[in-house]
Structure formats: C-alpha cells, structure tokens
C-alpha cells in the first residue's frame, strides 16, 4: 500500500463526499469532477492507462459538463430554502451505512485470501483494440447501438413539445 495510493484514495473519497454533501449544486458537480479525476489516477495507479484516460475523456469531458448543463437548465443552482436533504435523510443514511458495513465486512473477511501484489501486466492499447474487434466484437456492436439509441432518446426526451420549434 503505497503513499500514492493513500493520497489518491483520500482525494477520491473527499471528492465524493463533497459531491453529495455540499449545498450549492454546481459545487457538487465540480466536486464530482474531482472524484472522477481521483478515480482516473487510481486507474493509472492500477496500470490501466487506457481506462484512466477514457475515464477522464468521458466523465470529466462529457458527463460532468452534462450535469452542469442540466443544473443550469433546471435552475437548480440556487439552493432551496427548506434544506437540500430530503425528509427521510436519516433512514437513507442508515441504509447507506449498512451497505458500507456489509461490504467492508465482506472485504475484510476475505482479505487474507485475496491475491498478493502481482507484477504489472504489460497491456498495450493495440491489444485492447484487437480484443475489442475480435473477442468482444458483439458487445461492442451492442454498445454502439445502445449509444445511438440513448442519443436519440435523450434528444427526444429533452425536446420541447411545442410545435413550431423543430
């Protein structure tokens, strides 16, 4: 467990916490990007170069921006008077805590049997590409279709129903 790992983990978790705790929605979104960045660095720390960069490209470059747009379009940026947390926040928190308890317990239970540190696998982008078009070609196609459908669907859902516009 290197120092770098602890640093990145702290960064990521802090970003996540800020993302769900902050009052101002836009701040939440920005904190989310911090968490994403932390995750990307964790991937790099796991020798998953491609996944790390893809994470930055997709999440920071697209998803975060998307969230921000949504916030501004729904004027959610101003904080409501009656608190940002729902009435049942306590129950929710309890459940989340329960989930973490179970997961953490499971991890610690199984920690001894987990594999020890292994040599870093040398995976080039070329291998990933070949795997994509050969072993994983069907999932690839399906994801392509899914993305197209999602694109069209999102556009249609967000369209004005007013005739005259589009």
């Amino acid at each position: 467990m290197s120092f770098v790992f602890y640093l990145l983990a702290a960064l990521t978790v802090a970003g996540g916490l800020a993302a769900v705790l902050l009052k101002n929605t836009v701040h939440c979104a920005l904190a989310l990007t911090v968490a994403f960045a932390g995750l990307a660095f964790l991937y790099l720390n796991l020798d998953a170069q491609f996944a790390g960069f893809a994470q930055i490209l997709v999440y920071i470059g697209a998803v975060a921006i998307l969230v921000v747009f949504a916030i501004l379009l729904t004027k959610g940026s101003e904080t409501p008077k009656d608190g940002v947390f729902s009435k049942t926040w306590l129950a929710g928190l309890a459940v989340a805590a329960g989930v973490f308890a179970v997961l953490g317990w499971a991890v610690l239970q199984t920690a001894p049997m987990l594999p020890k540190a292994t040599p870093a696998p040398a995976v080039t982008v070329g291998q990933i590409g070949n795997a994509l078009v050969d072993r994983y070609v069907l999932p690839l196609e399906i994801v392509a279709v899914l993305l197209t459908v999602a694109l069209i669907g999102a556009v249609i859902v967000a369209l004005h129903e007013k005739e005259g516009t589009r």
Binding site: L39, A51, S86, A96
Partner: protein, 103 residues
C-alpha cells in the same frame, strides 16, 4: 492488508457515499450524481480485480470497465434528459414533490 483489499475498500466507501447521496438529496440531479459515483465505484472494483486477478492478459475486467463507462455515459445523457423534461412539466427537480405515482 493486500493492495487489492485497499482498492476494494475504497470502492466500497465510494459506493456507499454515492448511495447515501442518492438516498438523501432532494435534487434529482444530485441523485444522478450519486448514481454516477456508485457506477464508478463498480468500475474501480472491476479494474482492481483485472489488475490483481489471475489472468490480466485476458483483459476481461478492463473490457468490463470500458463498456460500463460507455453505458454510464448513455445513462447520464438519458437521465439528465429526463430530469430536464420533468423540470419542464412540473417546474421542479425536488424529488419529495414528485410523488404523483403513489398507489
């Protein structure tokens, strides 16, 4: 503690944080943010297992993560689109007020 366990713990923590956010925030967009966090925690798991698993050269976990990143992007697009259209109808993104589908 093995490195893998560390990553798994971080993932678990992140997942719980996301869940807490999704369960406690009132703003629909923030619920989506929480869900994004949960997805990312799952990705972290996948990649950690790929890295320390028996056959990293098979790329299985990596592929899983890449595909789930793509799917998550689609999810975000559609979810936010829904939020926007809901806001256009009900003029709110407060989930406590969106309870018209009660039984």
């Amino acid at each position: 503690m093995t490195p893998l366990a560390g990553f798994l713990l971080v993932a678990a923590l992140l997942f719980s944080i996301g869940l807490a956010g999704a369960l406690t925030r009132r703003n629909a967009i923030l619920v989506l943010i929480g869900i994004e966090l949960m997805l990312n925690a799952a990705n972290l798991n996948l990649i950690a297992f790929w890295r320390y698993g028996p056959h990293p050269e098979m790329l299985t976990g990596m592929m899983f993560a890449i595909f789930s990143i793509a799917v998550a992007a689609a999810e975000a697009a559609v979810g936010l689109g829904l939020v926007i259209s809901i806001h256009r109808h009900a003029n709110t993104t407060d989930l406590d007020q969106m309870n018209r589908m009660k039984g």
